[in-house]
């Protein structure tokens, strides 16, 4: 396969102003990924600071309730900063520092990637600016304050649809203004090469651990692994080390919002078409003239009109399956997991929980399924209360 390509997907579709820096990032990453000193420092941070390895938790009550496969939850929600985002961020910010950069910038949807980047920047002593759509700064106000506490500047993006895609646009624009001292910490397995590769590599620790853990507990591979997909970073991390295990089903859950037959969804694989945007060839929700469609999901983290190029390829070759999950199903699953297992998960991760509830009974009791619990749900509690019409006097 051509460098930076996943089948026909991927590539480097960015303005000339960024090309030499992108090639520099590519070169630096090729160096650091094989550099023992870098890896030692990163592993130390992942262990001592982020709290890895994360638990693979056997959800006994859920298993019994669903009456099929054994359900395991990969507890990325227990990482420092509360989501899988820290895995990628520690890698990229450490690399940025070693590259001599003094400033990092990042987009964020729900705020999890922004909080993680602000955290790593504080820890490693880099200046940090976060771009977040105004819709999202409104619905995730707590995360905005968190980032500010961590010493970052948060820009509320008012262009376009004021959500994640516009935050990405604005971060790219900012990067073209200042590349000499600034690294763009892209938060998902998307964008121009080498970002889909870098983010996947840093997130693949999820499946590396999960595979070892499940083999230890079950002495066999799981029947399926499931994760939610916006850009697709936790899913790519959850899938990666199982791709070669052909018996393991890989299932990604897209945000179907109000339903894929309405205009209000972010289900890229179900409804999108091939396109070239945000630096990559992949699938995108778009109109008949290739204008990027405004998308919708209750989950700010899945509210993105595209999907990472490696997912697009796994879909093309039918190695992974992508299914739509609605807002209602996700909110139901959010409450279900809280009541059944005592875990308040991120509304993003609740999309994956919703799907396992639908399919667990199709599997035998000897099978296991791993669900990636990508983040914790504190940030979503107020929004869920609003969704349910509950007044909690925020």
């Amino acid at each position: 396969m051509q460098k930076g390509r996943y089948g026909i997907h991927g590539g480097q579709y960015i303005p000339e102003t960024l090309m030499s820096e992108i090639q520099n990032v590519e070169k630096m990453y090729e160096f650091y990924k094989n550099d023992p000193e870098f890896n030692e420092e990163l592993n130390q941070l992942l262990k001592e600071y982020a709290g890895r390895p994360s638990l693979l938790y056997y959800a006994d009550k859920m298993t019994k309730d669903l009456g099929g496969a054994k359900i395991y939850l990969k507890r990325e929600d227990l990482n420092h900063t509360g989501s899988h985002k820290i895995n990628n961020v520690l890698g990229q910010v450490l690399m940025a520092k070693k590259m001599g950069k003094t400033r990092v910038i990042a987009e964020t949807g729900a705020g999890q990637h922004g909080v993680a980047t602000a955290t790593a920047a504080a820890l490693l002593g880099l200046e940090c600016e976060i771009f977040m759509g105004k819709e999202d700064t409104d619905r995730q106000a707590l995360n905005v304050y968190r980032m500010e506490l961590l010493g970052s500047k948060v820009h509320s993006v008012t262009s376009g649809t004021m959500t994640l895609k516009d935050a990405v646009n604005e971060t790219m624009r900012e990067w073209t203004k200042r590349v000499h001292d600034t690294h763009y910490v892209l938060g998902s397995v998307m964008g121009p090469h080498p970002f889909p590769l870098i983010v996947r590599d840093f997130q693949s620790v999820i499946s590396k651990e999960a595979r070892e853990q499940v083999l230890e507990y079950e002495n066999k591979l799981p029947a399926a692994v499931i994760a939610c997909v916006g850009g697709g970073s936790n899913a790519m991390g959850m899938f990666y080390n199982f791709i070669e295990d052909e018996t393991v089903e890989l299932i990604g859950c897209e945000a179907a919002g109000k339903g894929i037959d309405t205009a209000l969804h972010a289900a890229t694989i179900a409804k999108g078409e091939l396109g070239i945007f945000h630096g990559m060839k992949s699938y995108f929700c778009q109109d008949e003239y290739g204008q990027i469609a405004p998308v919708y999901s209750i989950s700010a983290g899945l509210d993105y009109p595209g999907i990472g190029p490696e997912h697009a390829h796994l879909h093309d070759i039918k190695r992974a399956t992508y299914v739509p999950v609605t807002d209602d199903e996700a909110v139901d699953a959010f409450e279900y997991l809280a009541r059944t297992e005592g875990i308040i998960c991120a509304i993003e991760s609740a999309h994956a929980i919703a799907h396992v509830r639908k399919i667990a009974h199709n599997y035998s009791k000897d099978d296991s399924i791993i669900v990636c619990l990508s983040g914790r749900g504190d940030k979503d509690v107020a929004a869920i209360a609003r969704y349910k019409g509950v007044n909690i006097n925020e």
Binding site: P15, S159, G275, Q291
Partner: protein
Amino acid sequence: MSNINKAFENKKAFIGFLTAGDPCFDKTVEFILDMEKAGCTLIEIGIPFSDPIAEGPVIQEANLRALAKGMTTDKCFELVQEVRKHSQIPLVFLTYLNPVYHYGYESFFKKSKEVGLDGIIIPDLPYEERDEVNDVCTLYDIDLITLIAPTSIERVKMLSENAKGFIYLVSSMGVTGTRSTIETDLEGLITEIRSVTNTPIAVGFGIHTQEQVQKYSSLADGVIVGSAIVKIIAEHGEESSDILKDYIGNLVKIK
């Protein structure tokens, strides 16, 4: 020889940019003809895109206004056809890759040729990915314009070698939009480019004053004015004609 050469023949080029469909189809046609009368030697027509990542706020907003007014790729072709009834001024499209990809490269460039377009600028299509459209552009005689940026210094030879039409020299880091000062070592870049190719060089991004026009016209083969024109259209809408002619006329007489 490409029609684009006419813009540079025995003179410094003055390239004006506007967004198709802002404030409406008919006015865009009228403004293009006005701009030619005022002294533009080439017009860049922006096909509006929902997410123009290389643009500053002024052109971003023009894109969204045009889309809200119902501008489409097909109507942009009609617009060129309409201009061609009155003028043979060199015309290039500026748009992003997705609208072109989605239209189908073959259909897009065949249609471009039919309506009389001369070239295209695609800011999110770097040299490394030019194979997407290079052959089909050549087939239909549409010049794929090369962009060179302040960060391109080590790439100049590669970028310039087979440049067609003109070279769009990006004056500054960042996105489009007027700037009070331009700090890039453009002379150095221009010397590099000239050692490789005779393709004319036009400087764009940030240019809006007589001083800038004078300076960059003498350094290069022409200048590109975009955001300043789009801003006039944003402020004066359908009544922009006279102001546009005055503004461009005043800049053109300097070069």
